[in-house]
């Protein structure tokens, strides 16, 4: 634990306080928090942070809604329930880079599947360039990522739905409760902690998006998030000092998010 976690964290912090541009190996002076200030003043950081926050919101919403919806369908007793479950899980098993490449073909501006479909249906006259506009690209990235992360959310929510005792629904029905009331006052409160787990997972996935963006738009500025910016700074521009500072800033932001989720998970459920 010390060697694999705490030592790298400490070394990264020490890098973040020094000049660490690898093309200037003799210039490794202590600079205090200058790297942090430089990152926070950088337009690239704020631009990539905006993209990250957009992706975070979009992926969490899409994943949660889709995951819960799929879980509701899968929770119904059915002969083919097992098959549906297997099919629903498949995207989750997909490596992110493969996922990105597949969707790149689907959204390819010239001969992509979506464009061909829309052209065939007469909804568009010329192919749409899905991957060149910032918000369109980010929306595509969000859909692609949600497609991969929703199955996990669905499985967790399904587990939650299956764990609700049937007696609760029977008692509610005897008391004159309708379907919506049962859903509102029994299903939703009891499955809420499970949704919280799915949402937490979706948040981590959203902040960690890398492969899908690279597969869809490379290292272009248009769709870069903080992780891409971090990679570019550290490994492409070889500036380990600023890269380490950016890593710590990202860690700080995600830690805040983590605490928020942990608190919400510990909340007592009332139904």
């Amino acid at each position: 634990m010390v060697a694999l976690v705490y030592y790298p964290i400490a070394v990264t912090f020490s890098y973040s306080l020094r000049e660490m541009k690898l093309t200037r190996p003799n210039d490794t002076d202590f600079v205090g928090f200058e790297n942090y200030v430089s990152v926070l003043k950088s337009q690239d950081f704020w631009y990539s942070l905006q993209n990250t926050l957009f992706l975070l919101a979009a992926v969490v919403i899409l994943t949660t809604l889709c995951g819960f919806f799929v879980a509701m369908i899968l929770s119904k007793e059915h002969r083919l329930a097992g098959l549906f479950l297997a099919v629903a899980i498949l995207p989750w098993a997909m490596p992110p880079i493969v996922n990105g490449i597949i969707w790149r073909f689907i959204f390819f501006p010239g001969y992509g599947f979506i464009n061909k479909l829309l052209l065939m249906l007469g909804l568009i006259d010329t192919p749409v360039d899905w991957l060149s506009n910032r918000w369109l690209l980010l929306s595509v990235v969000a859909v692609v990522t949600a497609w991969r992360s929703a199955p996990f959310c669905a499985i967790v929510c399904l587990a939650g739905l299956k764990s609700i005792p049937k007696e609760l629904y029977e008692a509610a029905r005897i008391d004159g409760s309708g379907s919506f009331s049962s859903f509102r006052y029994i299903t939703l409160p009891l499955v809420f902690p499970f949704i919280g787990i799915g949402t937490t997972s979706a948040s981590i996935t959203a902040i960690n998006i890398f492969d899908e963006i690279v597969a869809l738009s490379g290292f272009s500025d248009v769709g870069k998030n903080v992780l891409i910016q971090n990679y570019l700074t550290t490994f492409s521009f070889l500036d380990f000092g600023k890269g380490s500072a950016l890593t710590y800033i990202i860690m700080g932001l995600t830690a805040v998010l983590g605490v928020f989720y942990l608190r919400s998970l510990n909340r007592e459920v009332e139904f």
């Binding site: 976690v5 501006p109 860690m251």
Partner: protein
């Protein structure tokens, strides 16, 4: 593709890790190794014609010594090491004014008085000399073929032979065709025709015939049989070049690869004993020399090399992380041309000494040379060359290949307007490295400059190139989908017939003749030509090679340098091409492979290789990664219509000036 997974911690217990995979695929760099023995003489150019004379100083052939050694008693020297046959001849002055189809005839042969040169060596001995050197005869013509009428003649087959001439006072060899006056206007394409049976039967003494022949040991494939019979062609000796009647000269017959013995010295020299040493090598799959070559190196030196295949720019990450801790990620590793500046500044590469001959033979070495230090040895050559679809051009009424960018633009207009091709120009414009290199070579070829000596952009040249690119997009000559497509998608359009002109990687020279890569109706229609320039064809092209470097932190630096020099030798470069498709960096090897048919449909490949020059006046800068990031993003924004060429230039210029500060 680049693959990177990242974990960001929710708490301090989660640390950032990352892995990446590169933007280059194996397909992008690995080329198909052509193996057919079909020759490519049709593309012989003026520069190729002069090659023997130009290279004489750098080859291992000592013409003056050979000429001094020849005598009537010793009329022929067979130089096995250099793959050359030297023959003593004299001049028949009659043919300064009269015409004949006989080039060289043995002095005791039946045709001894009707040839331009009289050879002192027997034609049958000459045949065996060529055969002993490994040349393969054509033997495809018969006496019936010799009576062919106009337009019905056949051409001789057989291995290509270069013939050069020297004499007292002319120690630098001249190509044979430079001492002849030929009405055909076509360069000589001499072949080892063979014809031993007929030579012995007719005893004509014919050594060299100037048209395809069923008797001459060597004859000219550029002229079909019957050329001389119909008197459609005239051949004279050129008295303005040659010495007078009866003077002795030496004609040297060079086989493909002749004279390269000196250049292959690094491979031929006994390698040092490196027993007990184990080297590590980290390269992408296309840079793996293969088990056979590694086993051979181990056999010759006792040194074992362990290869780890790593995706292209994971290599860079691994090298940088290891180097940050003062460690070698591997003794030998991949060095892309674009990395050399930063790796030099970071002190990660050990310098390598090379001979002047090697440097002259490998123009791409310049890219890996900074402050006079050679930092890596190239193994995969790539330079920009133009490709055009002759069929599309001809349909638009254009019969010649474009020589200037104005001609390219006019051709694109004509082709598009005629409805021959919807998007006749193909150019990478996505926000990635290929957009940067496209702008760089365009400015370099079109205007002769990209960067000023102080490292800033040359505004006039670069802005002009940006404007040209933008115009190609706004006029609708480029497929808009290419604004977000990778480079290979753009380049492959020439093979599918979806575009009429492009400038692209050298490996497409092989692709355009490969039915697996090129559409059936496009095969044979695409030709590789010199890059267009401003007023004529450009006198330069940009190299984009990949190399093997030796880690400055390696504990086995000497052994590693021996290994990469061995891989870089002419002999091994050719084998590398056959093993993994790496296009050689030595012009001598490219020439040899074109001559022996290993590289098919080369077009202007060799001629273009001789025009390789680096666009970076002070070497590739160590801030290249940041510069290219600014370049490709702004180019992409321009072609998407979000910036004007001026705005794109200003943004790029500002970034470079910041980096220079």
């Amino acid at each position: 593709m680049k693959k990177r997974t990242a974990l960001l911690g929710l708490t301090a217990a989660l640390a950032l890790t990352a892995t990446a995979c590169g933007s280059k695929t194996a397909e992008e760099t690995a080329t198909t190794a052509a193996t057919a023995a079909e020759t490519a003489a049709e593309e012989t150019t003026e520069a190729e014609k002069e090659a023997p004379a130009e290279e004489s100083e750098s080859t291992g052939i000592d013409y003056a010594a050979a000429f001094a050694e020849l005598s009537e008693e010793n009329p022929m020297i067979v130089d096995e090491e250099n793959q050359v046959v030297h023959m003593l001849c004299d001049i028949n002055g009659k043919y300064f004014t009269e015409s004949t189809g006989h080039g060289i005839v043995f002095k005791d042969g039946g045709n001894k008085d009707i040839s331009i040169f009289r050879g002192y060596a027997d034609e049958v001995d000459f045949y065996h000399a060529l055969e002993d050197l490994g040349a393969k005869p054509g033997n495809n013509l018969t006496m019936d073929d010799m009576n062919a009428g106009a337009g019905e003649g056949k051409t001789t087959e057989g291995d290509k032979i270069e013939a050069v001439v020297t004499w007292d006072g002319q120690s630098d060899p001249l190509p044979l065709e430079d001492v002849l006056k030929m009405s055909t206007g076509t360069p000589l394409d001499l072949r080892f025709s063979g014809n031993l049976e007929n030579a012995e039967k007719y005893n004509s003494g014919c050594v060299v015939c100037l048209s395809s022949c069923c008797v001459g040991i060597v004859s000219n494939a550029a002229n079909p049989t019957g050329t001389w019979n119909d008197k459609n062609a005239t051949f004279h000796a050129d008295e303005s070049v040659l010495p007078g009647d009866g003077e002795k000269i030496m004609v040297s017959f060079l086989l493909p690869g002749a004279g390269k013995a000196a250049n292959t010295k690094t491979a031929a020299e006994p390698l040092p004993d490196l027993s007990g040493i184990e080297l590590t090598m980290m390269v992408p799959d296309w840079g793996n020399p293969g088990e056979e070559l590694l086993a051979r190196f181990e056999e010759e030196t006792g040194c074992k090399v362990n290869v780890t295949e790593v995706s292209w720019d994971d290599i860079r990450d691994k090298i940088s992380i290891a180097a940050a801790g003062g460690q070698a990620a591997a003794d030998v590793f991949e060095v892309d041309w674009s990395w050399v500046g930063e790796m030099n500044s970071a002190g990660w590469l050990a310098p390598i000494e090379m001979t002047e001959e090697d440097i002259a033979d490998e123009p791409t070495l310049e890219t890996f040379t900074i402050d006079g230090k050679i930092l890596a040895l190239p193994y995969a050559n790539d330079y920009r060359i133009a490709y055009y679809n002759k069929d599309h051009f001809e349909q638009a009424g254009i019969t010649e290949a474009p020589k200037t960018w104005d001609e390219v633009e006019a051709a694109m207009k004509a082709i598009k307007e005629a409805g021959i091709c919807e998007y006749p120009y193909s150019m990478p414009m996505n926000a990635d490295e290929s957009a940067t290199t496209s702008l760089t070579w365009l400015s370099w070829a079109k205007n002769g400059v990209v960067f000023n000596d102080d490292g800033t952009f040359n505004k006039e040249a670069v802005l002009d190139a940006l404007t040209f690119e933008n115009k190609m997009v706004t006029e609708g000559y480029v497929d808009p989908a290419m604004r977000t497509a990778d480079g290979m998608t753009c380049y492959n359009k020439i093979c599918s017939g979806e575009t009429s002109f492009m400038v692209g990687p050298t490996k497409f020279v092989n692709f355009i003749s490969n039915p697996e890569k090129t559409a059936e109706d496009v095969l044979g229609n695409v030709e590789a030509i010199l890059l267009p320039g401003k007023d004529d064809v450009s006198d330069r092209t940009m190299p984009l090679p990949e190399a093997y470097g030796v880690s400055a932190f390696s504990e086995n630096q000497e052994a590693a340098i021996t290994f990469v020099k061995w891989l870089n030798s002419a002999e091994i470069e050719k084998e590398l091409y056959l093993a993994n498709g790496s296009i050689p960096n030595r012009n001598s090897v490219i020439e040899e492979m074109i001559n022996d048919g290993t590289i098919k449909t080369p077009g202007a490949m060799l001629e273009q290789a001789k025009l390789i020059k680096s666009p970076f006046p002070n070497g590739v800068p160590d801030y290249y990664a940041e510069m290219t990031n600014a370049m490709y993003n702004n180019i992409n924004q321009m072609v998407l219509g979000n910036q004007t060429p001026e705005e794109a230039f200003d943004a790029m210029d500002q970034k470079v000036k910041e980096l220079l500060q």
